[in-house]
Symmetry: C2
DNA sequence: GGAATTAATTTCAAGCTTGAAATTTCATGC
DNA sequence: GCATGAAATTTCAAGCTTGAAATTAATTCC
């Protein structure tokens, strides 16, 4: 963060770096609010929340590789998080018929119900932090940032139609 | 990510959540590009880069607490990163006169030179990822996101005049 | 000046994260 | 059918991250 920029950079280039720093700043603020509240009110973590959010959206379950792709995190990462969620009875592992390598993971009833509550609170927290943004401004930001990543490899993911 | 929203939410509230998800998405993309390049080209990590960036900006050095506040990370976190940077000769610890509790950390000559190179490359990478954003769009995003965090406690930081 | 509070930092356990290597299973070509 | 390579996942070490507890030093308040 706060990276000094050489003077010889064109103005437009420097501006893009400023955009990046601003994005990072806002993201960190929202993340820390959500993390603190998840811990205080639901005794859980942000990564666990992210995993459950993905599984909530794809109710039929996701393969481990689909899950890590959707969350844009490394492959081995998800293994540990799912492990703990299974221990807590939030997630179920289902063997994929016809492919003994893969496993499907999905929310249990308990996990589904628990996430419903978390999602509602999450929307509240986010709205508090972003309260100063008008609907028009939201529209603009969404529209402008839509193009980013289009030409990037990481765009290959599980139907991320946010 | 991709958090389902109850239907009873007002449109404007749902929009703010969408803004948040979009921010998160773009941030993750840029972060992963920067991380991969830092590792490949400079054999270092994003957290180390962030610390060095803060120290590059504040050439007179920062106290540990100022550093963690500037980076918006927990207090104990910085300790380990600085430790490794000191080992690598990038950072120097200087005792604060008149206060035996605090320490000042600052870049060494080696750290300064190394970061100069990294900063230039960093600007290049960011511009590649955000290439599709026009100067006008950059201006808009910067302006709109400027208000976020103003009323938040985390706004109390070391002169973050991005 | 001594006790209690506050401040700056480190230590620590638990969990997260990556990237690489290892494992197991599937698919393909011969 | 058998080898070879690709695919899905786990394992692992190293480093990052948090929040809480511990440590040490400064400040404040009788």
């Amino acid at each position: 963060m706060s990276v000094a920029q050489p003077d010889q950079l064109p103005h437009s280039d420097r501006q893009r770096v400023r955009v990046w720093l601003r994005l990072l700043k806002v993201t960190k603020i929202v993340e820390s609010v959500v993390r603190e509240n998840l811990r205080a009110e639901f005794d859980t973590t942000l990564p666990r929340f992210d995993v459950m959010a993905a599984l909530y959206r794809f109710q039929d379950g996701l393969k481990m590789s689909e899950l890590s792709a959707a969350l844009r995190v490394s492959n081995g990462n998800v293994t540990g998080i799912i492990e703990r969620l299974v221990t807590d009875g939030m997630v179920l592992r289902v063997p994929v018929e016809g492919d003994k390598r893969a496993t499907l993971v999905r929310l249990t009833k308990k996990g589904h119900d628990e996430f419903s509550k978390m999602a509602e609170a999450h929307a509240r927290w986010v709205n508090e932090v972003l309260a100063d943004l008008t609907p028009e401004e939201c529209e603009q930001v969404i529209g402008i940032l839509d193009v980013v990543g289009r030409s990037h490899k990481h765009t290959a993911e599980v139907s991320d139609h946010d």
